[in-house]
């Protein structure tokens, strides 16, 4: 839905803190949709109105309204859930949604296809499992990412703890969510309630935070408005390097919009984190562009006013200066699949979930399989920012039982898939995403197959190459950080972007615009041939393309940052 800024701002302003006319909308039996204004507000409650685009034209001819349904997104910081919660979410997906759980690139779950009549019941069921959906979407701080890396369990635990508390701290204070979905009695007129941090109109745009634990950058820390890079000194958490102004989203043919990587502006001690995060958020709240929604993200505020101005404004609000950034180095931004031993003899199994979609398909009974696993698992589950799933904290003795289930339900893609298939990302796109211009999730397996054939042709099948596909330039699969990326332009047509690194520190560049599959494959075939012939040992495809001057990359983040 391309809503102009002014309208969104007015809707927020008049919504009495996100209530709007949602209750009326929900009780209107004539339509499966909610009122236009409420479609903006319901996002703040973690849900989107969508329709099945495969059926749009058919239903128009049948004189029926579009097949309206709702997507619901969870707020699950760091993507950590217990087996009990998994079972609850699985039951909800099966009863109310389209019998699938969608692991997102922000370590959350999405349900698709919930109809209006059952929306409230679904929300209640989710909350009953002690997971909420508050601020999972909307112009607020979104789900907070944390490196899924479970190996350094101790340090990971420390970082996760800060992330979870920060997510809690930055939650809107409005009780609207609890009134509308959980029948909480409204405090007379809601006067006693206020939004100290956000104010009546919340943020100009979404706001995203990620925590990375080097050397792993699986969260693509520089793709977020606020990136926190953990600095660990002999097992202790010294603090965080702060990166500001990252973001992927862009619009075709609009030079005013573009992806950007965050810039490291300094270091904070753990006890300073909340103050700094809050100052960044309120600075963006007060200075972000509320007239032009396409320019409302933090990255543009910094573009417009300069990073130095922004930093000093933040320091002023926080009441102290940031320390100089500490040294850090990232090795890669992928996941490490299979069993890995962590501390205290606990084991972690990272499974490949293609495009994050957990469902039963023929013999590949992934939803059932993970249900079975959840029934016997005594550790926890972790979603990765690469749409994969970790069965974490398994006692050595219990590995066999889990392995058995993994095999029976064909959850063992991680064992036999090519590096290309293991590392690929795809956004949801059609049929649910209202903004999709081309296929992504549904097209990924097929596309990978075709690219694999090309790689084999040049005996590159074992080379890890990061491929990402988005159905539109919004960049939900963080495509601009893929060595190869397809960005949807129209049905069957994509922009081909090339040349990112595998560390999330260099954006790719537009190579060919608006081309179809044949042209894309032709182009890759040509480049793979050169790569196979001219690459240095260990040289990644993206790095090669840059060295070979096939593409001229934008300045990236130095591989080794020494403060």
């Amino acid at each position: 839905m391309s809503t102009s800024s002014s309208s969104v701002e007015t809707i927020k302003q008049n919504s009495q803190r996100l209530r709007g006319s949602l209750l009326d909308s929900l009780s209107d039996a004539h339509t499966g949709a909610i009122r236009a204004d409420d479609t903006v507000l319901i996002k703040f409650h973690g849900s989107y109105q969508q329709d099945d685009r495969d059926l749009r034209d058919e239903r128009r001819q049948q004189k029926l309204e579009p097949a309206w349904s709702f997507m619901i997104r969870t707020r699950t910081p760091g993507g950590v859930v217990t087996p009990q919660q998994w079972l609850a979410l699985d039951a909800i997906a099966t009863r109310y949604a389209n019998a699938s759980l969608r692991v997102t690139t922000r370590q959350a779950f999405q349900f698709h296809g919930v109809i209006k009549r059952e929306l409230k019941a679904t929300m209640q069921a989710i909350n009953a499992s002690l997971i909420d959906t508050v601020a999972a979407c909307g112009d607020v701080n979104r789900n907070v990412l944390v490196s899924a890396n479970p190996v350094e369990s101790r340090s990971h635990a420390l970082v996760y703890d800060w992330a979870a508390r920060l997510s809690e701290h930055l939650k809107p204070k409005s009780r609207a969510y609890y009134e509308i979905w959980l029948d909480e009695q409204r405090i007379a007129g809601g006067e006693t309630e206020s939004e100290p941090m956000y104010g009546e109109t919340y943020l100009p745009r979404k706001f995203k935070i990620a925590f990375a634990v080097p050397p792993h950058n699986d969260v693509d820390v520089f793709a977020h408005d606020l990136g926190c890079i953990a600095v660990l000194e002999d097992g202790q958490l010294a603090g965080f390097n702060i990166s500001l102004g990252g973001g992927m989203g862009a619009t075709h043919n609009d030079a005013e919009t573009y992806p950007l990587l965050g810039q490291v502006i300094g270091f904070v001690r753990p006890d300073q984190l909340f103050a700094v995060a809050e100052s960044i958020l309120t600075t963006q709240r007060d200075f972000g562009n509320r007239d032009v929604r396409k320019r409302a993200r933090l990255k543009y505020t910094i573009e417009d006013r300069g990073i130095d101005w922004f930093k000093s404004e933040v320091e002023q609000r926080a009441g102290f200066a940031l320390g100089p950034a500490r040294a850090f180095a990232f090795e890669h931004n992928g996941d490490r699949f299979g069993w890995i031993e962590g501390h205290e003899g606990r084991w972690h199994l990272t499974l490949r979930i293609e495009a994050g979609r957990v469902a039963d398909r023929g013999k590949a009974t992934h939803l059932t399989g993970l249900r079975e696993i959840a029934r016997i698992h005594r550790g926890d589950f972790r979603l990765t920012a690469n749409q994969n799933l970790i069965i974490a904290n398994v006692q050595a003795a219990e590995r066999a039982a889990i392995d058995a289930l993994v095999t029976t339900h064909q959850l063992d893609l991680y064992r036999n898939a090519s590096p290309l298939r293991l590392n690929a990302l795809a956004c949801v796109a059609l049929p649910t995403c209202g903004l999709a211009m081309a296929e992504a999730e549904r097209y990924l397996p097929d596309l990978i197959g075709k690219v694999e054939t090309l790689l084999a042709k040049h005996t590159l099948e074992d080379t890890p190459i990061h491929l990402r596909i988005s159905g539109c330039p919004n960049g939900c699969s963080r495509p601009y950080l893929g060595e190869i990326a397809l960005v949807g332009k129209a049905p069957g047509r994509y922009n081909l972007m090339l040349g990112a690194d595998r560390r999330g520190q260099r954006l790719n560049t537009l190579h060919r615009e608006n081309i179809d599959e044949a042209t894309i494959l032709g182009e890759l075939d040509r480049l793979f041939a050169r790569y196979a012939a001219e690459r240095n040992t260990e040289e990644g495809f993206g790095d090669f393309l840059v060295r070979a001057k096939v593409i001229r990359p934008p300045a990236g983040i130095p591989v080794q940052v020494i403060a």
């Binding site: 391309s2 039996a29 004539h30 339509t31 499966g32 059926l55 749009r56 034209d57 058919e58 239903r59 128009r60 001819q61 049948q62 004189k63 029926l64 309204e65 097949a67 109809i115 009549r117 043919n253 129209a490 049905p491 069957g492 047509r493 615009e513 608006n514």
Partner: protein, 600 residues
């Protein structure tokens, strides 16, 4: 356009209005006609301050310039808005319309049309223009001899189908006889480069074409021609099928069709509440099965009374194969010498026999109780194929010489075989250009109140909705002020909400004042229209007390009785009388013609 009347060239009237006017003045004396001319001229004067000159000017001042846009992401809309601003400041009467808000039937009456439209997908129209493009590309597209137009296409030359839609529309309008004022503009991503000069041109031509001077009014009289013999049940009209659209979605157990037929030139006309008679034919497949089963030769020529046809023709066009009656069963029982079947014919067994008649088509009887038949006896014993009636779902005031139906396709499994109903299947299996033999079955007992200020209450679950679509169309077209309350029910909201989009629009712009829904299978406990009636008993009773008219249409076996039951309870409760009095009140309503039923 009508065969009874010919609207003269160059009247600004649409055909539909032409017909109405023709009806109105039919048989008026000279004096009345002169009065009428003065009256309408007066009206025109009040409207515009200027009266049109004879022979219709380039753009009668009364008809504003229409600027239509089809836009996905707002560019075309933006340009269209600018153009409208230009024209207004240029002093031309102009209206801005989004493509899906343009009344397609009124295209014919447009005089000067500017279109700004983008191309989407892979050469597809923007969503809001799908309907318009489809309509104009289709064979039902009107001829537009009186239309002048120009098109501005918005596109992106990096797409193979650059401006496909702008181009298509521009050439299609020309094909339809409209006159292109100037060349198609093909804007690329740098929209203004092309759009600005295009707008300038549009403004200049518009000013040129809009007549300034006023001139004396004059009336072009309509010449009535002798109306030719009307079609009826015995001489049905072969109506062209215009549309056969399933309107239940995936997952529905029902296959309900929206059928549109053309009455153009038939001289047939109808009033909301009337039904359309359809003279069906059995499917060739069913006929073949019967022939095979009885091992009869389809080509054998059979004479009954004065008529001689092949056996195949008799079975396909002249005889009931899907409904059998007692006489035939008796005949068959004798032939089959089947004890069980004979017993069914005994008087005390009549209930069982009725069940059999309701559940067995001829083919089932032949399969379960095999018997030999010779062709002559068979044709002698079977009933003549009778027409089926369908409530008309359209108002001529709106659709002119078309007639719309809402048909549930009878298509079911029984005795291990697929079965169909003869008429509903005849319609459901027909595709475009098929010719359907039809006639009008007038129904004076199912009429809108002559007083348009009366409220109406319409109870129409399932296909019972059909006549109420006509009612609401008519009441809106004739500007009736009374409130329209509709109660509809069906199994599922998602797939069985017949005409959902039309009702939503009607509610939005007040053509429908209230809509209560009962989707029986969307919750554990079944909910039907009679439950909704009971829930709103007070309101219903009040409206009736204030003179509202009550209508029930649809299933006779269960629904009609349950609804009547609910009505009696409501009368009892709110009219605080006993069941007796309630029944009397209902009877009284029926007498006054305020409680009408069209049930089947």
């Amino acid at each position: 356009m009508s065969a009874q009347f010919i609207t003269p060239p160059l009247t600004p009237l649409t055909d539909d209005k032409g017909i109405l006017l023709a009806r109105l003045i039919d048989g008026l004396d000279t004096q009345a006609l002169w009065w009428l001319s003065g009256y309408s001229a007066g009206l025109a004067g009040n409207q515009t301050g200027i009266a049109p000159s004879v022979g219709a000017p380039a753009v009668p001042a009364a008809t504003p310039i229409t600027v239509v846009y089809g836009s996905q992401t707002g560019n075309a809309k933006r340009i269209a808005e600018r153009l409208v601003a230009d024209l207004e400041s240029g002093g031309a009467p102009v209206r801005l319309v989004r493509a899906d808000a343009l009344a397609l039937r009124e295209l014919k009456s447009e005089r000067l049309l500017y279109v700004v439209i983008s191309t989407q997908g892979d050469g597809d129209p923007p969503d809001d223009a799908r309907g318009l493009i489809a309509h104009l590309s289709g064979k039902r597209a009107p001829q537009l001899p009186d239309l002048r137009y120009a098109v501005l296409g918005l596109g992106d030359s990096s797409y193979p189908q650059f401006n496909a839609i702008g181009r298509k529309l521009d050439s299609r309008l020309a094909e339809l006889g409209a006159q292109r004022l100037f060349d198609l503009g093909e804007a690329d991503l740098d929209i203004e480069t092309i759009a600005d000069p295009w707008r300038k041109q549009a403004l200049d031509r518009a000013i040129e074409l809009t007549p300034a001077a006023t001139s004396r009014s004059s009336v072009v009289p309509l010449r009535a021609v002798a109306s030719k013999a009307k079609h009826d049940r015995d001489a049905p009209y072969l109506a062209e099928l215009l549309a056969n659209q399933r309107i239940t979605a995936r997952g529905s157990e029902k296959d309900v069709r929206h059928i549109e037929l053309s009455l153009a030139g038939s001289g047939l006309s109808y009033t909301p509440g009337d039904a359309l008679g359809v003279c069906p034919q059995n499917s060739t497949e069913l006929v073949r099965n019967v022939l095979d089963l009885l091992q009869l030769d389809g080509d054998a020529s059979i004479t009954q009374g004065s008529e001689t046809h092949s056996l195949r023709h008799w079975l396909q066009v002249r005889r009931e194969l899907t409904r059998i009656g007692r006489p035939f069963v008796a005949h068959h029982a004798a032939a089959a010498a089947h004890a069980g079947l004979n017993r069914l014919l005994a008087p005390e067994q009549s209930a069982t026999l009725i069940k059999l008649l309701g559940s067995h088509q001829l083919i089932d009887l032949l399969r379960t109780y095999p018997a030999r038949w010779n062709a002559d006896e068979l044709i002698g014993a079977l009933r003549p194929l009778t027409p089926r009636l369908y409530s008309i779902a359209s108002s001529q005031t709106l659709v002119g010489e078309e007639v719309h139906l809402t048909v549930a396709h009878v298509d079911y499994e029984a005795f291990g075989h697929r079965h169909q109903g003869v008429a509903s299947n005849f319609l459901a299996r027909s595709d475009d250009d098929a010719r359907i033999p039809v006639f009008i079955e007038h129904n004076e007992r199912f009429r809108l109140p002559s007083d348009g200020s009366r409220d109406i209450i319409m109870i129409g679950p399932g296909t019972g909705i059909a006549p109420f679509r006509a009612f609401v169309q008519e009441r809106a077209a004739t500007g009736s002020s009374g409130r329209n309350w509709l109660l509809f029910g069906n199994p599922h909201f998602q797939c069985d909400f017949l005409y959902q989009v039309e009702w939503q629009e009607a509610l939005r712009d007040g053509r429908l004042d209230r809509l209560d829904l009962a989707f029986s299978r969307d919750q554990a406990n079944k909910v039907y229209v009679q439950h909704r009636l009971r829930e709103n008993g007070r309101e219903l009773h009040d409206r009736l007390r204030n003179g509202a008219h009550l209508y029930v249409c649809g299933d006779a076996t269960r629904m009609a009785c349950d609804v009547e039951d609910a009505l009696l309870d409501i009368f009892g409760e709110h009219g605080n009388g006993d069941r007796e009095q309630a029944a009397e009140q209902l009877a009284a309503l029926r007498e006054e013609g305020r409680y009408a039923r069209d049930v089947y």
